[in-house]
Structures are given as structure tokens and as C-alpha cells.
């Protein structure tokens, strides 16, 4: 075999670093949207590779619904501290008060959708012209169509019919006043690629990604962690199970999977065997309609 041969993970890493540096080179005020999940933790590692020993040319920005897993929040704060990078947190709670929005109610009540408002508010507050996100094209069929540099209008809206051509690795970050760009460095990574990278890089994850016993309620056949934020029916069945989370987002819309995977290797083995997609297993917001994600993205969602 050729000595100058780059393994697939190295190729994906090189591409992601290149994209991050293009963001740094082309924009005045970029930001990295950090959720505390494994994809954004991976982005942070890639940013270290792209910019160390210098500082990141952008702050980490977390749009906090107030309904996150305490483990993820603790991890977020410790990570920012350890890296010595700036962390900006903006709360959906404050947006609800300021814009007089109504808090979603009912069985599927979640502040997930309201994050869009807080994100747009933050973009305006700081004048961010580009937000780096950890979305992957393998996650969902609308995401499979998005460019790496995705131009959004003043309202953060994505118009799938007006996407710019994107040639080679040449990214066009030119925008008009009011527009901004979402950049997705790990577009071409799959869930399994992310886990293999986490393994290779020995990245420590929040422990909710690994098996633990937790009290859950069963909603539409899915296990939802019990918390003060989740809607409860008197007839909800409450169980205690050995579970882990495959994605970590807002507690009100992220379901757990039953699992005994206790470390990265056992998680990887589990994903290879899994017959259900990451979002299918863990998100209840996508199930509400056939094109739920496309609709949310058109409305300015990540």
C-alpha cells in the first residue's frame, strides 16, 4: 500500500478542519453552536486541531432551553473552563419573557422549537455572521440536502430551492447585510464515524452516553427520562431501566435507548448492530410529520 495513504477518519478530519479555518478566514464574527452533545463535543476537538496553540477565533454559544440534562450542562461548563475559551449562554426562558411567547403545553410540550427564537436573538445581539453547527447529513433526509455553507436569510430561514452551487472545497461565504451562514464541518460524518473518532481521540463524554439506571416514563413506546419539565399523564407508566442516550438534547424531546453499553467500544458495537436510526430511536419531534425537519429548518432551526 502507498505510504502516503490517508485513512478515512483522517480524511474526514482534514475536511472538517479546512471548513473551520474557512469560517475563521471568511467571516468577521463567527460562533460555534455548542449543545453539549457528542457532535458538538467533536466539533470542539476539531477546533483545537484547527487553531491550537492559538485561541479559537469564535466563542462557544449554547442556546439553553433550561430543560437540559444537568450532566450535559456540567460538562459544558467544565469543558469551556479547561479549554480557556469563551462560553456564551443564552436562555430560552429569557426569550419567552422578553418576546412574550407562549410556553408549549400538552403531551409533547417541548421548548426545542423555541430555541430558534433565542438563536436569532443571539445572532442579532452579537452580530454573528456565521454559526458553526454539528449537523450531519446522515441524520435526516432534509439535512442530507444541505450545503456545507448554508446561507440563511434575515429570519434564519433555509430555502432548499435557492441553495447556492457548492463546488469542490471552495466555500462561498459572501453574504448581504442581515443574512448569515450556517457552516457544517462534519456534514459527511456518520454516527459511527463520530464514535470511531471519539474513540481514536480518547475524548471523554458526559456519562449519560453510557449505561446507567434511570427512572423513565414510557411515551409512544419510547423511554423518556423523568424530570420536572416533562408533561405527565396520570396513566403514564413509570419504569426504571438500564439505559443510555444516543443523542443528548433537550430532556423533553430526547428519548433514551435500553442499553448495557458501558464504554466506547461497547457503544460502537451496539450502533453497528442497531436497526433503528439515531433520530428514529431518540427524537420525538421528527415523528410529528413527514417533513418535520424541513419545516423547522425553513423556519430558522439549526
Amino acid at each position: 500500500m502507498n505510504k502516503r495513504y490517508l485513512d478515512y477518519l483522517d480524511q474526514l478530519e482534514a475536511e472538517a478542519i479546512h471548513i473551520m479555518r474557512e469560517v475563521a478566514g471568511q467571516f468577521q464574527k463567527p460562533a460555534l453552536l455548542f449543545s453539549g452533545g457528542k457532535d458538538s463535543i467533536t466539533l470542539v476537538r476539531l477546533a483545537e486541531k484547527a487553531f491550537r496553540p492559538g485561541k479559537f477565533p469564535f466563542p462557544l454559544v449554547h442556546i439553553d432551553t433550561g430543560h437540559n440534562f444537568p450532566e450535559a450542562i456540567q460538562y459544558r461548563d467544565e469543558l469551556a473552563e479547561r479549554l480557556g475559551e469563551k462560553l456564551i449562554v443564552r436562555n430560552v426562558e429569557d426569550t419567552i419573557k422578553k418576546q412574550n411567547l407562549s410556553e408549549p403545553t400538552g403531551r409533547y410540550a417541548s421548548r426545542n422549537g423555541l430555541q430558534t427564537y433565542t438563536l436569532l436573538e443571539s445572532i442579532e445581539e452579537f452580530g454573528f455572521d456565521c454559526c458553526i453547527g454539528g449537523a450531519r447529513r446522515d441524520e435526516e433526509k432534509a439535512r442530507a440536502k444541505e450545503r456545507i455553507f448554508s446561507v440563511r436569510d434575515e429570519f434564519g430561514q433555509w430555502d432548499p430551492k435557492r441553495q447556492r452551487p457548492e463546488l469542490w472545497n471552495t466555500y462561498n461565504g459572501r453574504i448581504s447585510l442581515g443574512e448569515n451562514v450556517r457552516a457544517f464541518p462534519i456534514s459527511n460524518w456518520t454516527e459511527l464515524d463520530v464514535w470511531n473518532y471519539i474513540k481514536r481521540e480518547e475524548i471523554v463524554l458526559p456519562n449519560i452516553y453510557f449505561t446507567h439506571e434511570r427512572e423513565c416514563l414510557i411515551r409512544d413506546g419510547k423511554l423518556m427520562a423523568t424530570s420536572d419539565f416533562i408533561y405527565r399523564d396520570p396513566e403514564d407508566e413509570i419504569v426504571t431501566r438500564k439505559i443510555r442516550f444516543r443523542t443528548v438534547g433537550d430532556m423533553t424531546c430526547t428519548a433514551a435507548v435500553e442499553s448495557v453499553a458501558y464504554d466506547i467500544d461497547t457503544v460502537i458495537a451496539e450502533i453497528i448492530e442497531s436497526k433503528i436510526s439515531e433520530r428514529g430511536a431518540t427524537r420525538i419531534d421528527d415523528k410529528l410529520s413527514e417533513t418535520a425537519m424541513e419545516d423547522r429548518k425553513k423556519g430558522g432551526y439549526f
Binding site: 496553540p53 440536502k145 447556492r164 469542490w168 464515524d193
Partner: protein, 426 residues
């Protein structure tokens, strides 16, 4: 494990999306919930099977119209390889989206409907694949089930295509496979309906195509994207040039030149993630430190000294025009080439390619959406360019509209005019 990036192209309804669905389905890479979602959409084909094209046609408008509008990216892997697939639209109106998907591919699958044979879009997508320097073409004669799996029909289409290819395509590696995307013949499993075909099935072929030599490792090109200056106590004098090696190799001790300024120095270290490397090569993203304090910023290119290179403001290129507004001679645009952006003027439109007759139309005064043309360009700042055919990574550029900022053209350098020749011309 390596990566093969490929695109499916060809005329409308020739079965591109169905083929990808079939590849994913027959390699067991479709999750149950995704399958349930397309089953519950209720769309089935004549045989009562679920419509596998729905796996990639993810937009509302696409599902309503039953066509592909924009490229969808799909991923799968076998023990041999990771595959990144771009499913392109066949409709001429969306050619720019096909170009987007093709630009990063090392292989192009062109589908041909066995009932219709080679069409205008078959030729257009083949020409675009060839212009973009995609080294491997696979021509899948699809819907063989609808022509009774007839060997003669297949042979006739292969003949027609070969004739067209010989006159117009640069790609050397062209493979033909008769398939039925709908039923799975010769996709992942050998077809029992076509015993006369003795070649590999599609997946076998995709697993074997060599990709390692698709990178140019001869011509060292390092466009600087970003300068790392920590200004900390520990790294007081650190100055690192961050970028991607788009072609060639770099090692500690290499003598380098910075273009366009022409300053020279020596590489002090090649780093990745804080670790020093003996040698780095394309397509790695690294940081270079130099022995001397030279003035370098984003857009400069670090090359090796022995290469004796030149920068230029004038060159000729083939352009795929992707804007609704026509391109005219004299048009002023922004041009982005790797990390450099500069103003540019299209001085002359030399000819336009007619994808039907394959002739060059010489007196074209304007170029329409989806046309391919050859132009002469002059830029405001000098660029280090390579001919696209020699170095794909340094011979391509994009054209950007000065007011809407949208990407309107994809260009591939064919010849470079150097200073000395300019003087001579005067």
C-alpha cells in the same frame, strides 16, 4: 479503509434515486424507522414494492413531484470501503445541483434507460463529469427488466455511448453494466436474468475501483487559510500558517517560496494537532512554521522552491454557467480560487459547447444557464494556477455575482498566460 465519493447522474427518471435506494437496501444499510417512514407514505411501484427513491428524495417538493431537485448525500460502508454518494437531479433545470455533487466525486455513475438509450442529459452529465476531471465513469444501462433483459438492446446502447465517448470524453476508465435498479439485478447481487453478462456487478466494481492515485502528490500547493498567533507567554513568537495541502507533500527542511510575493524560507516544522510530523501530504490540513519572519497572510500560497512557478492575472478556462442571467463578454465578477478572492473580468467568450451536436459554437455572444463555454479571464490580483487537467485541486475556481453574492459559475483552467508572453503580445 478508504473513501470512494461517487455521484449518480443521467437523464430524468432513468432511476438514479431508485438505484441508491437499492444499493442501501441490499447492503442492509437502511434503518427500520426509515423504511417504515417510506412505507407509510404509501407510494409503491407497479410491483407493489415500496418506492426506494423516497430514501433520497427528502424534500416536500420532491416527494410531491416524484423528481429529484437538489443533491442528496447518502453514506454507506462495506468491510472494504466507506462510500459517500451524491444523488443528482436529472432535470436540466437543476444542472447546477448536479455540478455541485459531481465536483467532489471520484466516480460518476451515469444511468441510461434501456428503452430510451443515450439522451441529451446523458451526454450533458457525461461531459460535465469529464470536464470536472472525474477519472472513473460507470454507465449503468438501467430498466433492463422493461426490455426483456435483451442483450442486443444493451450492446446497441454500449456502442452508441462508446462512439460519443471517443469523440468527446477525457475519462479513460469507462465501465458498462446492465442493471435493473428496481429489481436489484446486477446491483449488489448477480442477475439471473442476464447470464450473457459476465462482468462484475455494480457494488463489486465500486469496491474495486482504485482511488489512491486520485490525489496529485507531485505539485506542492499550500494555500494559507489562517495565521495562528497565540501571543501567549508560552508561545510568544509562535507564528503558524494554517491550511490544507491541496496537492503535493511537505517536510521539515523543505525550501519554500511564498507566492505571489516571492519571499523564500525553510520549513521549521509541519504540525497537526500540536504534534510534529515527518512529512505531510494531500489532502491533510496542517500548520507550517517557517525559519524566517516573512509576511504571509490568508490567500498566499506556500510552494517548494525547486518548482520555479509563476503567478498570472490572465488565463483561459472552461466555465459551467449556473445563473439565470446570461453571461456576456465584459462581465465583472468576483472570483474565488482556494483561499483567494479577487475581482475578475470575462474578457472574451471564445466558444460555447453544444451538448447535442458536440460542436463548438464560435460566435456566442452570450451564455445561458447550464451552458458550458470557454472564456478568457483577467483578474485584479495575480493567482498561482495550475491547469485543471494536471491538478484538479488548484485548477478550479468559482465565479460569484457582485451584487447577489450567489455562486454563478464553475471554472476549470485550461491555459495560463504568463507575464513574458504578455509582453511579447504587446
Amino acid at each position: 479503509m478508504d473513501i470512494l465519493r461517487f455521484i449518480t447522474a443521467g437523464s430524468v427518471d432513468d432511476g438514479k434515486s431508485t438505484l441508491i435506494g437499492r444499493l442501501l437496501y441490499d447492503t442492509n444499510q437502511i434503518y427500520i424507522d426509515q423504511l417504515e417512514a417510506i412505507e407509510s407514505s404509501g407510494r409503491v411501484n407497479e410491483d407493489g414494492q415500496v418506492d426506494l427513491s423516497l430514501l433520497t428524495d427528502g424534500l416536500k417538493a420532491e416527494r410531491e413531484q416524484g423528481i429529484t431537485i437538489d443533491v442528496a448525500y447518502k453514506y454507506f460502508s462495506t468491510p472494504k470501503r466507506k462510500f459517500i454518494i451524491a444523488d443528482a437531479p436529472g432535470h436540466i433545470q437543476y444542472t447546477r445541483n448536479m455540478v455541485t455533487g459531481a465536483s467532489n466525486s471520484n466516480l460518476s455513475i451515469i444511468l441510461v434507460d434501456a428503452r430510451n438509450g443515450v439522451q441529451e442529459q446523458t451526454r450533458r452529465h457525461s461531459i460535465i463529469s469529464s470536464l470536472l476531471g472525474i477519472p472513473h465513469l460507470v454507465i449503468c444501462i438501467n430498466k433492463m427488466d422493461l426490455v426483456g433483459f435483451d442483450e442486443n438492446v444493451y450492446n446497441q446502447i454500449v456502442e452508441d455511448y462508446k462512439q460519443f465517448a471517443a469523440s468527446k470524453l477525457a475519462a479513460k476508465d469507462i465501465t458498462f453494466i446492465p442493471i435493473s435498479a428496481l429489481r436489484g439485478d446486477n446491483v449488489v447481487d448477480r442477475s439471473e436474468n442476464m447470464p450473457w453478462y459476465e462482468g462484475p456487478n455494480l457494488l463489486e466494481h465500486l469496491e474495486k475501483v482504485p482511488v489512491s492515485n486520485d490525489f496529485n502528490l507531485d505539485d506542492a500547493r499550500f494555500p494559507v487559510q489562517y495565521v495562528i498567533r497565540p501571543h501567549t507567554h508560552e508561545h510568544h513568537d509562535y507564528r503558524g500558517y494554517a491550511g490544507k495541502i491541496i496537492s503535493g507533500t511537505y517536510s521539515k527542511g523543505d525550501k519554500i517560496t511564498v507566492l505571489p510575493s516571492g519571499q523564500t524560507s525553510t520549513i521549521k516544522s509541519v504540525e497537526l494537532g500540536g504534534k510534529e510530523l515527518e512529512e505531510a501530504f494531500a489532502p491533510m490540513s496542517v500548520v507550517l512554521q517557517l525559519e524566517d519572519d516573512v509576511d504571509i497572510s490568508r490567500g498566499d500560497v506556500i510552494v517548494k522552491q525547486e518548482e520555479n512557478l509563476d503567478v498570472s492575472k490572465e488565463f483561459e478556462a472552461l466555465v459551467c454557467w449556473m445563473n439565470n442571467k446570461p453571461l456576456r463578454a465584459g462581465a465583472k465578477l468576483l472570483l474565488r480560487h482556494n483561499s483567494t478572492e479577487t475581482r475578475a473580468v470575462v474578457r472574451q467568450i471564445q466558444y460555447k459547447v453544444d451538448v447535442n451536436s458536440l460542436d463548438n459554437i464560435m460566435d456566442a455572444d452570450q451564455v445561458q444557464l447550464n451552458d458550458i463555454c470557454r472564456v478568457q479571464i483577467k483578474t485584479a490580483t495575480p493567482l498561482l494556477l495550475d491547469k485543471y487537467e494536471n491538478n484538479r485541486a488548484n485548477g478550479g475556481f468559482i465565479l460569484i455575482d457582485e451584487t447577489s453574492f450567489t455562486t454563478v459559475g464553475a471554472g476549470m483552467v485550461e491555459s495560463i498566460t504568463h507575464e513574458s508572453e504578455l509582453n511579447y503580445m504587446i
